[in-house]
Amino acid sequence: MKITRETKDNTIIITLDGELDASSSVALDEELSDPEIMAHNKILVNCENLNYISSAGLGVFISHLQRFEDAQIKLIFFNMQDKVRNVFEILGLDLLMTIVSNYEEAMTIADE
């Protein structure tokens, strides 16, 4: 699992590359726990190369969601593969989280 972070003005783009399981999700949790993240109001997660997610990976996002909402930080997923999106859907997480098709759409929603 490779996690890269890019900052543009008040937006953070996190790119996930690889498989997010019980072993690798620890690094994502550390990334999202970084206080620096809270200084921005948009977090866009590029999932193009996220090939797998297990409950441990979902759990990391679930556990930070309320904190981001309370701080009025938008968390938006984009470029998600169908098989990964399906895992969000099995638990109904697609209704609690914002998942859009591409970067442009993510930026539009982030600016609303």
Partner: protein, 136 residues
Amino acid sequence: MNNLVKVSCSKKNLKLIRDFVSEYLQALALSDILMNQIVLAVDEICANLIIHANKEDTSKYITLSIIKKKDGLEFHISDHGIAFQRSNYKEPNIQDNVKTGKKGGVGIALVNRIMDRVEYTSDGEKNTCLLYKKIK
């Protein structure tokens, strides 16, 4: 085809388990989504056994075997750790998890929704989880 794998109880071995299941499923020409769901269900059970039942003790092992049935697939996952108590299991409320910032507890819900049959047996020493998925 080799249909059995044994790994020590380290989270790092989950990738090995997933690759093993993927390779086995490859021959069945399933859709991407279905194949991912099956791999995920097996991964979730193995992660629970490694982390909760065996406390990531690498001197302990879990064994997975895959059996092709007439209209589906059976997965047998065995260990010698603390047996899973199904009666203590409570289906999570995801919205509550979000509110309280809870990290875990949604893995078994995924398994139950993906698989057609989920059974846990124990002879007091060896525990086995059986997963069955119907394949058209």
